[in-house]
Amino acid sequence: MAEHHRAGGHPAVRAVDVSVEYDRSREKDKLVALENFTLEVRAGEFLMVVGASGCGKSTFLNVVAGLLFPAKGQVWVHGEEVRGPGKDRAVVFQDYALMPWRSVEDNVKFGLEMQRRLNGDTKDRIPHYIELVGLSGFEKSYPRELSGGMRQRVGLARALATEPSILLMDEPFAAVDALTREVMQEELARIIGETKQTVIFITHSVDEAITLGDRIAVVTSRPGRIKEILPVPIPRPRNGREIRHLSEYTDLRDRIWELLAGETRLMARAPETTES
């Protein structure tokens, strides 16, 4: 965990008293997705945000990404207030959001192109990131020719290629099958070990949170608030299957479940199924 930390003045992300409301078209009242959400993300850490579905954790990510503006509160990234998307952040989406008319290679270029930063220098990194996510040989393939896991590799490479200091991951592996998910988790841990980015990773899977995170922020059900932040006391590199038998793992898992279980009942929703 220690090597993931970076010395430095400002936290990577600081959110203070953030509230987000959505208009509901059919109802008069507003839907409060986040309320007084306060969280500090350390530079270089891998922070997992875990909560039941609909708790507002993705909303928080969108606020940090600059895609959504809070009704109240403020968010700073590296000490600067967020006023929209920026080159220091990149998002990996649950639904991949790849351009279907672009090949793998051109999709990986996409982020740089949107930022108007695609030039000789930045073009040279494309093959590196394609290789990093294990897609060498698929440069000319189109998204429709790829499996879900491979598509998300493209999504990851697209985000990494812009070399953001903060990687925002919105349930990136929720739509891939369980086997692929484990492989992807291991590789993500390896890749971030190399690139040393700050990661905010949204998930509803407790196991995923423990396997990947340095710290885990447990979010209450709507309106979303931080209930507790728990460090993961398991050294890296972690093997998803092996660490599951450690007492640190099972203790932490029970603790998170306890925190979430009360919340899930409050939601009056079917609890999410887990994969274990």
Binding site: P85, M114, T162
Partner: protein
């Protein structure tokens, strides 16, 4: 990337899965050509013998051989190539103008919400109305000349192109727009790199629809306002009861339409390859 990646690196070839034949046998290209030729041959033979066998008056259906005999006759009279070429030229030029106006107009109106909201009902009205009602006005405005014929093609084709391109813009995946925005795309980049590329299949469809509507515009124009063109020859031959010539030129028009719509279909298909099985 060892064994783990191997597991994910799914088979590459079968992903371009053959479309399910749904119980129907698929022909090879060669077989299809043969079938088409046989099909056409049977059709021609039937056309040749049915007027005689059923004793159909020539004015309704001349024998095919009489119709074909018109081609050398028309060439001899010097009315064949000149008129066919005029039709082709007017259609092609008219369509190029219609596409050049329609596609950018559709993108513009579809891309600007307020324009879309305000203009959509009018565009639909124009799209739904048969252009024939515009005929007297167009003749009044520009007179009976070539400009009227271009205008008829444009008036027929543009609304279809505009409406379909506009609808296409509305189908842009919100998740793709969000992804582009997350990287800080400004409006212009968003439009050129996300909205337009994802609308391209609809541009293809719009152009195809416009081309078949443009054919109607061409024909109407030639029948009523022209002193040249396939339609004009048909109208003239009809007036003097030269039924074989009417049929001969109608067949030319059919052939021309089939080629044009086929071409449009080909372009449309090429433009939407990435839509996988959604459209094809």
């Amino acid at each position: 990337m060892s064994a783990a990646a191997g597991a994910v690196r799914a088979p590459k070839a079968p992903l371009r899965a053959p479309k399910a034949p749904r119980g129907r046998k698929r022909f090879t290209t060669k077989q299809r050509v043969v079938v088409t030729i046989i099909n056409l041959a049977i059709f021609c033979v039937l056309w040749q013998v049915i007027p005689t066998v059923l004793d159909i008056p020539r004015i309704f259906l001349p024998k095919l051989s009489e119709i074909f005999a018109q081609y050398p006759k028309m060439i001899e009279e010097g009315v064949f190539f000149s008129n066919v070429l005029v039709s082709i030229r007017i259609y092609v030029v008219g369509m190029v103008m219609a596409i050049a106006v329609g596609v950018p107009l559709g993108l513009l109106i579809g891309g600007i919400r307020i324009l879309d909201k305000v203009l959509l009902p009018y565009l639909w009205a124009v799209y739904a109305t048969p252009l024939i009602v515009m005929m007297p006005l167009i003749l009044l405005w520009v007179g009976i000349n070539e400009r009227a014929r271009y205008l008829l093609i444009i008036v027929s084709a543009v609304p279809a192109i505009v409406v379909i391109v506009m609808e296409g813009i509305k189908t842009v995946e919100p998740s793709l727009l969000r992804a582009a925005r997350s990287f800080g795309a400004d409006r212009r980049v968003l439009f050129t790199k996300v909205v337009i590329p994802s609308t391209i299949p609809f541009i293809g469809t719009g152009v195809k629809m416009g081309m078949s509507r443009g054919l109607i515009g061409l024909f109407v124009g030639e029948l009523f306002t022209a002193a040249t063109g396939i339609g004009y020859v048909i109208a003239l031959a009809g007036k003097v009861f030269n039924i074989s010539r009417v049929y001969a030129m109608l067949l030319m028009f059919v052939a021309f339409s089939v080629v044009m719509v086929g071409l449009a279909q080909y372009v449309e298909r090429r433009l939407s390859v990435w839509r996988s099985s959604a459209v094809l």
